[in-house]
Amino acid sequence: MESSDNRIIDRILNDAREEAKAIIKEAKRSAEMLLEKQKELASHSAEKEVYSLLKRAENEAAVIKGRVTTDIKRRAGWMVLSEKERLVTSVLNEVKNRLVNLQKSEEYLPVLEKLIVDAGTVLDGGTLEVMLNKNDSSLPLKLNKLEKKIADGTGVKTRLKISKQQIKAVGVIVKTNDGKIFVDNTFEAILSRRERELRLKIARILFSRASAS
């Protein structure tokens, strides 16, 4: 065979190999494109669900933040409030102590008399029974003076008599002669009756902006 024949033969094979390479290259490119397109399609299809997931997460995050903030604000408010409550209660306890101790002081007699007059006036005078504790029963109460004060206040002639029945509390209970109506002016009862009002007053003093002088 001549060399020109050999060249033709080589060329035939080389061309075929080149063509084969191109065919495979094109197939690979086409396959890659197909897969790439699928990836894009999948991402695009997932977008709606992704958006919905993230939106839901953001909403839940806002709810979490709101809930924690509300809860902690409530807890913080409660901390402050319970401290105020504690301070008011400590004042009230001191008031109770001082009232109990008042019984031992000289100032007590006029206070007791005033409590009797107040109770008698509320009961609108008349014949009234005064119930005292054991200690107070021995105090030199000027019943005539008290009767007059009640009568002046109510316009009804009044007669006070010390009851044989004694109480344990400090203060007085005054009742009508028939025992149907009574006014409890023991310190305990007064405090209990006026606790709400007193707490408010104490709170106003303790927690007002103006400093104590």
């Binding site: 065979m1 001549e2 033969i9 035939i12 061309d15 075929a16 190999r17 063509e19 084969a20 390479k21 065919i23 094109e26 197939a27 690979k28 396959a31 197909l34 897969l35 699928q38 990836k39 999948a42 991402s43 299809s45 997932a46 669900e49 992704v50 997931l53 993230l54 997460a57 839940e60 995050a61 979490i64 933040k65 809930r67 903030t69 809860d71 902690i72 604000k73 807890r75 913080a76 408010g77 901390m79 402050v80 401290e83 105020k84 301070l87 004042v91 001191e94 008031v95 001082r98 009232l99 206070v111 405090l191 006026r194 007193l198 007053k201 104490i202 003093i205 303790l206 927690f207 104590a212």
Partner: protein, 106 residues
């Protein structure tokens, strides 16, 4: 001459075989790609959703961290306020006791 012609014809056959094999391989590549289409779609879809779910968890976790840190600020502020209230109130303690006594006794 005949010999040369035969040789060319042989090589032509060989060349055609090479092309045929290449076409077969190309078909195989494309077929494999077609077979992978659904799998790739599912994989990418699931990966994207899984990533979004991870991100969702992160968002919520971060919200909790932020809220807790904010909560600590509130608590510190409340403790400070509580202390101030106590100190101020203690200065007015006697005035409050006397006012309450006055209210009861007067």
């Amino acid at each position: 001459m005949l010999e040369s012609f035969k040789a060319v014809l042989d090589k032509e056959r060989e060349a055609e075989k090479i092309r045929l094999e290449a076409r077969e391989q190309a078909e195989k590549i494309e077929k494999e790609a077609q077979e992978k289409v659904a799998e790739i779609y599912r994989e990418i879809y699931q990966e994207t959703i899984a990533e979004a779910k991870r991100k969702s968890i992160e968002i919520k976790e971060q919200a909790k961290i932020d809220a807790e840190s904010r909560a600590q600020i509130f608590v510190r502020r409340a403790k400070k306020q509580k202390k101030k209230i106590r100190i101020d109130a203690e200065k007015k303690f006697d005035a409050a006791v006397n006012a309450a006594l006055n209210e009861i006794l007067s």
